[in-house]
Symmetry: C2
Subunit: 410 residues, 2 copies
């Protein structure tokens, strides 16, 4: 953590400035005592310690480790549209706003009992949080963190009684709309925040137990995975009047069941990691050591690529020429790279123990990979596969860079 300029003299100047002007300038020195752009910053979730490593992708350095985020055992992050603040969604229902320039927590609230993620609206004004307990979505003002609207995920059970469902797969789409799924209810809801009175639309009977979802990079197709049956639920947000359709009918725990022996499903794959490359979608099989390829024009399955283990995150390099794959326990010791033209595995890397997540730099020249049990984040050149850096981090998991602020659904 090299700090190129000493912080103390600058802090002293801040105090002096305060005396002279009556204005608080405590912020002025910034993280390293200097102004800096926020385009090459990022955060790494340190899950065991409830802390976050603030990183610089140009110098490939950890700038600071920041504590006080609560339970980060399954955390995710969204950035404000100015790329100054990161909202960290914690498992304990905590919503924490981190100032990337001062390296300090700007605000933290406990908004629910058990949050699994959220999204920031297209216009940057609202942050939505999806909650397991109590089930629902709460929307806050990104600036003031005041509650704007509380949407309980209330649904009717077959016996006529009502209950609240766990909310999963919260994303933002164009038009200042949030989309999310209700696990127990088997419903997909959209919440339109562009109106003075937010408008809720419910799609019922989309399938049994949607457990996660993805949004295509253009924000058009919302696709939810189903835990209770095979196939996936697709909502075309350009044509919501068409309702929710079923695609990839054999996809799921019975993944194209052809009588072959299935692996035990230790972990359902993350769907947000689906890789789109041209007309191809690359995605993780469930309980099988395969990456599947579908044609996005008709969502038909076209290829199955044999890989090291059951894939968890299948992510496309920004130029779509490679797809990088991480795997479920106990085979989470390797990362594989698939060529999107030949569909062949062209590299197998061993960054460390318990590989959890990865993130490409915005233009794809590097990839950062978290090796939880090695307490390291490893940086590779994606063209030469050369290892460029190993950075210290406490049980690192999710890695998120600020360019996500500018991408639909991220």
């Amino acid at each position: 953590m090299p700090l190129p300029r000493p912080l103390k003299p600058l802090a002293a100047i801040g105090a002096l400035a305060l005396l002279l002007t009556g204005q608080v300038l405590a912020e002025a020195p910034g993280l390293n005592g200097e102004l800096r752009g926020t385009g090459d910053l990022g955060v790494v979730i340190e899950r065991a310690s409830g802390s976050v490593a603030l990183v610089d992708t140009t110098r490939r350095e950890v700038l600071r480790h920041i504590e006080g985020f609560g339970d980060l055992s399954h955390a995710s992050v969204k950035f404000t549209r100015d790329a100054r603040y990161a909202f960290v969604f914690g498992r304990d229902g905590g919503l924490t706003k981190l100032d990337l320039l001062t390296g300090e927590i700007a605000e933290r609230i406990l908004q629910g009992g058990n949050s699994i993620g959220g999204a920031i609206s297209q216009d940057g004004r609202f942050v939505a949080v999806g909650n397991y307990e109590p089930g629902g979505v709460k929307v806050f003002d990104t600036e003031t963190m005041e509650l704007v609207i509380d949407v309980p995920a209330t649904y009717q059970r077959p016996d006529g009684s009502t209950a609240q469902a766990k909310v999963v797969g919260v994303v933002d789409v164009p038009g200042n709309v949030f989309v999310f799924s209700l696990f127990e209810a088997g419903e997909i809801w959209t919440l339109d925040m562009s109106r003075d009175e937010p408008e809720l639309t419910k799609h019922r009977d989309v399938g049994s137990m949607p457990y996660d979802a993805l949004i295509t990079p253009n924000g058009r197709y919302y696709i939810a995975g189903l835990f209770g049956e095979d196939g996936m639920a697709l909502l075309d947000l350009w044509h919501p009047e068409n309702g929710v359709q079923r695609i990839l009918p054999d996809y799921g725990q019975n993944d194209y069941g052809q009588g072959e022996q299935r692996l035990p499903v230790y972990k359902m794959p993350h769907l947000e990691g689906w890789a789109m490359a041209g007309n191809r979608a690359f995605f993780p099989a469930v309980g099988r050591s395969e990456v599947l390829v579908a044609d996005t024009r008709d969502w038909s399955l076209t290829n199955r690529i044999a890989v090291h283990g059951q894939p968890i995150f299948v992510m496309s390099r920004p130029d779509e020429r490679q797809v990088w794959v991480t795997f479920a326990h106990p085979l989470n010791d390797k990362v594989q790279v698939i060529d999107t033209q030949t569909l062949e595995v062209i590299a197998t890397l061993e960054p460390g123990d318990s590989i959890l997540h990865k993130e490409f730099t915005p233009r794809g020249e590097h990839i950062w990979i978290s090796a939880r049990d090695s307490n390291q984040v490893v940086v590779y050149d994606t063209r030469t596969f050369e290892e460029l850096a190993r950075l210290p981090a406490e049980s690192p998991s999710g890695i998120f860079f600020t360019h996500r602020a500018h991408q639909i659904g991220l």
Copy 2:
């Protein structure tokens, strides 16, 4: 230009700090005396006055007008990977580095006689400038602005003598490679900066007088327009061994000449404005009031959409649902919007006089349009077409937002 905090007291503090520590802290107060993220900043070229308007896309405000950029009559802009600095390429060969946080020129050199644009390498280390006079490319270190390599665009004339060609269509592609075209030579060159000794590769006889070029968003296809003949030159950068191929054989000044009366060609269209939406490319006809549509899988022409005038910039909203079109003089008083599904013109706007350029906010909720002779930049909601703001600018032309720092080829 509201400046929320007075600058003078802060400047005084800076001077005092210098006295106390011997360190120059002139930067510390920043543009508005406060730290800020750089994700929602942008610049508007003010062509007549050689100045730049620094803008905030969240508050929809001009933060400051900055002078001293020389001749900006055909200027373009690239951002550093930290999104702190803008490199402005001026017609007078000036290369100016603007600090978006202080609102001041960090450095300015006259690197050539007549520059038309440039690019920043994938890793952010190099800025390449294409020059008309003398013809060639110069590459500088983005941090120090020291010359790294000077590549004269020397070619052989039919009579065996050598000359230097004007360089156009400079872009960056993955692998830390710059690609550019030589107008008089009819050549496309690639300059690989990933090696200790930069490697130059020449593709000869690509067609007569390439005048501009575009790179597809994934950085794979480099497509140059030809002034001297019809058709376009396509280089597949994933397979440079295949050489340069000809596509859209009738495209150009004889644009699918079917005996119809052609409009006079006042201005060749900008190619960098090509819109990609799914498998469709939307692009300007030459000398005809049409937007053309090609299938990017085989580059065949599929549709012709009648529009208000000869298109100049044809740009896709980030979610690919709309394409926005500006027009050549004398019909540059309107902007039209095409629905990418129905291929119909769904809106015609009149932002002001002499519409020159436009830029979407990163997630596409707004568009900023420069009306040169109205001395205004007009901001619209892209969903409702409601006018949101009119900002003062001196003869505004190009508009560039910082999210470009994170996109291949932008």
